[in-house]
């Protein structure tokens, strides 16, 4: 009865999330998960996850979305795809993790203080503005937003790279950037973000 509002929301969203996952190519395969643990055993970072990928699927199917959202699991996925190629049920677990990241961001439900969504957003901004990623700028902007002190720590490394000409200062902007954004605009608003109507970022787009 005394559920936190966020938890209640998580419960309500359980079905929305499941449907969103079913909708990605091959997404409904999670119905056929046999909970064998191949994914988690194959995952290079599962030891640091609050819940293993197998447990994430179990929680999703049980409608316990709060577990999924509160965990650091999806943002620890490195896209190594071992789980995907080994899964005996043919589940594209990595793709599922991407979808969960998008859902978290779209619904504003990411873990507090998580850096990874910030990095991803900075990445997206840069690509949308320049068409390409400029590593120096990306790193700078992320650290300025999250932990500026860390930049100092990285100075010696950075100087080395600069000395070897490996840190160009100015970003390259592609010629087709405006037409690229026109293309993106041609897709409906809801589609540009995730596919999740109601999510705040869908409105932004």
């Amino acid at each position: 009865m005394s559920e936190e509002p966020a938890e209640r929301r998580a419960h309500e969203l359980g079905d929305v999330f499941l449907d969103a996952i079913y909708a990605i190519p091959g997404g409904d395969k999670i119905k056929q998960c046999i909970q064998c643990g191949t994914c988690s055993g194959s995952c290079p970072t599962s030891y640091a996850m609050d819940y293993s990928p197998r447990e994430i699927i179990a929680a999703l199917r049980a409608g316990m979305l709060d577990r999924v959202l509160k965990s650091n699991t999806v943002w620890l996925c490195t896209s190594c795809y071992y789980c995907t190629v080994r899964c005996p049920s043919g589940i594209k677990i990595t793709d599922m993790m991407y979808e969960l990241k998008r859902l978290g961001v779209d619904f504003g439900l990411v873990q507090k203080g998580a850096i990874a969504p910030t990095v991803s957003k900075a990445f997206v901004n840069m690509v949308d503005n320049y068409g390409r990623v400029h590593e120096t700028m990306l790193v700078m902007s992320v650290f300025l937003k999250t932990k500026p002190w860390a930049l100092l720590k990285m100075m010696p490394q950075g100087m080395k790279l600069i000395a070897r000409g490996r840190l160009p200062f100015f970003p390259h902007k592609i010629k087709g950037i405006s037409e690229m954004n026109k293309c993106a605009g041609a897709m409906t608003g809801a589609m540009v973000g995730g596919l999740h109507p109601g999510g705040p970022s869908a409105k932004e787009a």
Binding site: Q35, G37, S42, E55, Y82, G90
Partner: protein, 655 residues
């Protein structure tokens, strides 16, 4: 002539009635031309259901009957019999399938009812054109062909032979015994496999009613139920089976040693060899690939030492035709190739072995004399057994191989007993469904076998801690704890699953039988006809139908024998009269049909210049009927008139 047709719509409990408005269908049928009576009933196949038909035939003078119920594959024979008992020729009956292909597949009652009406209407129209036919009876040849000499084929052959029937047992290897001959112990009772198998093998060898044809295969199979001809190809052994007394001197003296297939390449055999000491027949075979005579034209040591002059390098491949009435296929399975799953390191990491290799290690007459040992000859102190290798996996085979859980636990017990090593079982689910199996699982738990619920993710030799140095590390999520564990062990055994034989497709073609989606042979009915096939007189038993353990295989071998016996003891079988007939008046003698018939059932009469069908050979496919440019050929019970009537009505009556 106006026919009097009776139409009977079956509810099949609620199977049909809940999706098809049967009353509506009956009303529709009653209004069709020539329909005298239309009724509905709960279960038409029941005795009272059949009685209704019989009574109506007698009292209303019906001349044709249509039953709308399940698939003809289920009950066509039942109703034909009822019609016959009612006094009508059984071919004046037509079945309308409104269950499998109508009610069961529909979600909309209105649409399903319309479809049912169309199907019934078509049957009513068709039945009016049907003609009385007489079934042909032919004698059954009592000889039986059994293909495959594993435990299943052995059981089938012995059962048949003991009842006095002649059995030809064809085995493609030099010896019978199959996989079971390679196993050490058998679960859950832990009988020694050889102790219970070898006596049966000897029985086969000595049985007066069994002709064992080893090192041979079936290349062609033709004819029809009760009267088949099997073409056997005998490969040359280069040793005369009649002369050889199995003394083994040739093998002893042969200078060439090569890896033994029987021992999975772990042990050696000679170029003239018996796969194992208790081989049946107890006659060696010469391996042409390695024999010095065949490769270099020298040596002949075996010839020199054979006291009976049995070695014969001039033997040639021979073909022989056998006449049999029935055949039992017990061709078994292949094991999954573990090297396909790269993450377990089979073939790359020494001491990762398959379960069959383990059996050979553990076998008293195996390459290590029954010692379970590592590549360096030492005894393992810890062993991991990985379940479901190649099974329950969409990347390889989706099905469960059924036996691996149990044989894995048997291996765990043997490791424990013989080495005292710590044993880990990595499993997804334990499937211990047979008699005494769950009890065996409990016993293993008591023996301190460590069961880790989680499919192994990988096996690596990269050590991350000093304790892992020099070990194989099995990485898996312990799903009951929700943590990934790294378990260092000395030996990893991969419990490989079953697969259809590589040549299963060819064999299915040779015998005109089907395969299920997984590639194993398809039974006629999964519950009620598990050893029959869609081809009359051809039975399947054991793991060629799907993975099975020894008790189930033996049961199926015996079941197939009983099925064959039941057919033989009928003495004669009735053949479907749905053969082709040629109207000599209309035949133009163009001979197109001759080239089309796959059974050479059509002959050309040179004097009358017309074609004629030999109805003993005709199997009633109807290909010639469709091709005849003069429309001179008809297929009984599938005549143009009948099919055209059915087609016309199928379209017209639907809404």
């Amino acid at each position: 002539m106006a026919e009097k047709i009776g139409v009977y719509v079956c509810h099949c409990g609620s199977n049909i009635a809940q999706m098809v408005d049967c009353k509506n269908v009956v009303d529709y049928a009653a209004a069709l031309p020539n329909v005298t009576v239309a009724r509905e009933y709960q279960y038409m196949c029941s005795d009272p259901g059949q009685e209704i038909i019989k009574k109506d035939i007698k009292e209303l003078g019906l001349t044709r009957v249509v039953v709308a119920s399940c698939s003809p594959l289920m009950h066509e024979l039942t109703f034909r019999r009822a019609v016959e008992e009612g006094g009508l020729n059984q071919f004046l009956f037509q079945m309308a399938n409104i269950r499998e292909q109508c009610s069961w597949i529909s979600e909309n009652k209105e649409m399903a009812t319309e479809r049912a009406k169309a199907i019934v209407g078509a049957a009513v129209k068709r039945v009016a054109f049907q003609e009385p036919l007489q079934e042909k009876k032919v004698p059954v040849n009592p000889n039986v062909l059994v293909v495959g000499g594993g435990i299943t084929g052995i059981e089938a052959a012995l059962q048949l032979a003991d009842s006095g029937k002649k059995v030809y047992l064809v085995e493609k290897e030099p010896t019978i015994g199959g996989y079971m001959a390679r196993f050490d112990k058998t679960f859950p009772t832990l009988d020694c496999a050889a102790c219970i198998l070898t006596p049966k093998m000897v029985n086969v060898a000595q049985h007066p009613n069994i002709e064992l044809i080893s090192y041979s295969d079936v290349t062609r199979f033709s004819g029809y139920v009760g009267n088949f001809t099997a073409r056997i190809r005998r490969r040359p052994r280069y040793v005369d089976e009649e002369k050889c007394n199995g003394c083994g001197l040739c093998t002893e003296k042969c200078p060439i040693s090569v890896p033994s297939e029987f021992d999975c390449g772990l042990g050696k055999r000679k170029a003239i060899y018996r796969p194992f000491p208790q081989a049946v027949p107890n006659v060696p075979v010469i391996d042409r690939e390695h024999c010095l005579f065949f490769t270099k034209g020298i040596c002949k040591v075996c010839v020199k030492f054979c006291p009976r002059g049995a070695v014969n390098f001039d033997q040639k491949e021979e073909f022989e035709d056998l006449q049999v009435g029935t055949a039992i296929l017990a061709t078994g399975f292949d094991l999954f190739d573990a090297s396909k799953v790269k993450q377990y390191g089979y073939g790359r990491l020494p001491n990762v072995v398959t379960s069959l290799e383990f059996e050979r290690f553990s076998h008293a007459s195996g390459p290590t004399g029954g010692k379970i040992q590592l590549k360096n000859g030492q005894m393992p102190q810890s062993v991991a057994i990985l379940h479901c290798i190649g099974s329950r996996d969409t990347n390889f085979n989706e099905y469960c191989s059924r036996v691996c859980c149990m044989y894995s636990m048997k291996m765990a017990h043997l490791v424990h007993e013989k080495t005292g090593a710590k044993v880990y079982e990595f499993y997804i689910d334990i499937r211990a469904f047979g008699k005494g199996y769950e009890e065996f699982y409990k016993r293993l738990l008591k023996e301190d076998t460590v069961f880790i619920r989680g499919k192994a993710a990988e096996v690596t030799d990269f050590a991350q801690t000093p304790a892992e140095k020099g070990k194989l590390i099995v990485v898996a999520e312990d799903t009951l704890l929700g943590i990934t564990r790294r378990i260092p062990v000395d030996m990893v055994v991969l419990s490989v699953g079953f697969e259809p034989r590589k040549d299963a497709a060819d064999l299915a073609r040779t015998f005109s039988i089907s395969r299920s989606q997984d590639g194993f042979f398809l039974e006629r009915h999964p519950k009620l006809a598990p050893v029959s096939t869609a081809s009359d007189g051809i039975f399947i038993a054991g793991s060629c139908q799907g993975p099975k353990d020894i008790p189930d295989s033996v049961a199926q071998g015996a079941a197939a024998a009983a099925n064959a016996l039941s057919l033989i003891d009928r003495k004669e079988v009735t053949l479907e009269p749905t053969v082709a007939v040629i109207d000599e008046e209309s035949c133009s003698g163009c001979k197109i049909c001759l080239g089309l018939c796959p059974f050479n059932a059509i002959v050309f009469d040179d004097t009358k210049k017309v074609s004629r069908v030999n109805d003993a050979l005709c199997k009633g496919c109807g290909v010639c009927v469709a091709a005849c440019p003069s429309g001179a050929i008809e297929q009984r019970n599938f005549t143009d008139d009948q099919l055209l009537a059915e087609v016309e009505s199928a379209c017209a009556s639907a809404k």
